[in-house]
Assembly symmetry: C2
Homo-oligomer: 225 residues x 2
Amino acid sequence: MSIQAIIFDAYGTLFDVYSIGALAERLFPGKGAAVAELWRDKQIEYTRLRTLSNTYKPFWEVTQDALVFCCRKLGLPLTLDAQTQLMGQYAKLQAFPENLGVLQSLKSEGLKLAILSNGNPEMLDAVVRAAGMDGLFTQVLSVHSVQKFKTAPEAYQLGPDMLGVAARDTLFVSSNGWDICGAAWFGFRTFWVNRSAAPLEELGVTPNGEGRTLDDVRRHVAQQA
Amino acid sequence: MSIQAIIFDAYGTLFDVYSIGALAERLFPGKGAAVAELWRDKQIEYTRLRTLSNTYKPFWEVTQDALVFCCRKLGLPLTLDAQTQLMGQYAKLQAFPENLGVLQSLKSEGLKLAILSNGNPEMLDAVVRAAGMDGLFTQVLSVHSVQKFKTAPEAYQLGPDMLGVAARDTLFVSSNGWDICGAAWFGFRTFWVNRSAAPLEELGVTPNGEGRTLDDVRRHVAQQA
């Protein structure tokens, strides 16, 4: 059966997180890249630790905790103003330039489109609106409703449950290699938007498709039809 | 009630992983630190992803997968000989110099001592023997029997189940901040052997005690008696 629904990861896949590093560089000259990298690593680590131990709290708060740890570790003073600016950046990320066109085209072909993200609903609402993507998605799904972050199966299960399409007929699209592995283990078809030309994770998973931008998703879907 | 049992993490807590970085530096001059750090990060990441998705495989294999990824990512050629040497190092790690004396002293006070590690039984047997620690532990517990890595509660549950001592009467000792958080969330008393003077994780957990070496564990236990 051909693909009936496409579920997109949000941060890094649809929305460009580059501006976070750029702002960090303005706030902490010479340290922007280190802040952006450690902040992101800790953010993801904390989602996993909280999911493993059933100590969920919303992604916004986890992200803030990760920023506090990151600055403490790097010996950088985090003023309330800097914290507010950096966190606020998450609410107004830009979409990658090709995205709007690709999403409109896929939607016009009758595919159900959705987002499935670790972000809590308020964060996702804000970023979808800021990127001008209102109305393109059948569902904007947040793991908040199951209180477990990706890559917990309960998080991915939101896709079939809320879209009414089986995982095997759904293409899961992410720029994060680990997200692709979790989604494939869950049972989705997968497409890896490998924007940074990273090596494949050594987890025994090969995505069904791989490319560099969302344009490659359109090509992949056309080939499967 | 006072502490009746002490459970130790293995790698980095009892056994010094420094020699792994030193060997990596000999094999990949100028890159030893980067290899050791990325290898370790990936090893831990893979244990979490496999636990979240119920795709367990033994720590030895996960460690090997992480090494393969690490060298691919850093653009380093991993010969079979280098791989064998690096993996073999895990079987013959030295204990930190203070450990034998501290363990013997704690044991002589009638405390039950155990190891609880992500390592599979074969790895743990080899490293305990190499460090001359045979006979010091009531139990050497591997998560292999529950097929979930730390920080899953099922992994920590091995402690109370196999030692017959409640978590609240057990001190869990680790050099890994994340392990301390998982153990505290599970219900253990915790002591963080913060060998690298790392900042506390921003996860809402404060260990019951903290020090720099295993000698500090002895002092902490004496104070609780």
